[in-house]
Symmetry: C2
Subunit: 184 residues, 2 copies
Amino acid sequence: MPSTLGFALLGLLARTPSTGYDLARRMERPVGYFWTASHSQIYPELAALEREALIEHVVVEGPGPRPTKRYAVTPLGRSALAAWVATEMEPQPVRDLETLRLWSVWAAEPAGALSLVDQMEAGHVARLAAYAEELAAVTADPHSADPRHPQFASRLTLEGGVRARRTAVEWCRWLRTQLPAPAE
Amino acid sequence: MPSTLGFALLGLLARTPSTGYDLARRMERPVGYFWTASHSQIYPELAALEREALIEHVVVEGPGPRPTKRYAVTPLGRSALAAWVATEMEPQPVRDLETLRLWSVWAAEPAGALSLVDQMEAGHVARLAAYAEELAAVTADPHSADPRHPQFASRLTLEGGVRARRTAVEWCRWLRTQLPAPAE
DNA sequence: TCTTCCATGTAACGCGTTACATGATTTT
DNA sequence: AAAATCATGTAACGCGTTACATGGAAGA
């Protein structure tokens, strides 16, 4: 069974066949919003997926000293991906550096507390804008209404991102009402 | 400079001096909502924090073959924690297994899609209940109004948890309205 | 000519999880 | 008498990040 990264790559390749390099770039934008990986992780994982016959590659002409490989999902890989989506899994532990810092905010000066909340809010506002823009683009695509089309799933995840970030921004604004005014 | 885990432990010890064993248990409940660690990680990290004079220990009587050590934060550790809270940090990448699975839901049968959303909702509902209960308990403590008291920060983080989970549950309910009805 | 982009890999290191190891006290 | 809890550590392994290494094609 592939690792989580393996299924992330399977999901990417099921949408569009790509080279390893291309996967690394695609990991930054749309999937990157909830999963990331660098190329040094991707290449070995592609080899592992191919060993299990979940993907296969064709060599295409390209630059550089090594052959350029374009990977695609096999029927076996496609059904493995579909099965994994519905697999029973226990909820994974949360790891949130921001909340961890806020949890020790009582030990800091009022100015430091305000600085933290400002940082948090700025980050969430930026993400919200990015998600909202992408959601608008995806919703404009009529494929996003078809449950068996990738754009449909993109729409669902982006909607979640927008809702989560909107809530986070509201929370940050509320946090500021709770903090004491720093001494001038 | 300590690792993130180091600051998590510093935050715990600033609230209440504890043994390593005790820290491992405390990592499960209140902090465990946004950071976790097992005892095998904690013991080496305590040694590292002590080497940097951020914490110190006294030996107390206790069971077992080795001495029982109760750790407490030093003034140096306390100021390191306060400084870390307000440190400038770039937003960390999100890693969300649930959303990653949802992102490939277009490849699954309608029944599988529904199963995934049900799982997600159940998890968020359970967490919401736990956070809400704890928030009620913390808010009842008058210390939670004092910005320099640990309970104050606990209240802020729990409020964020409740808001986030409430939004997530709503999102899951919305997701179900988007999914096709599975064939009977 | 120089820099950026395309493209693929390996190596070293750090963090996190699981498993191994020990043994006294307290509860069932 | 057996099991659970308190208590501390080490070892092995996997995943993720950063750095090292190579070299052609395209653009500035």
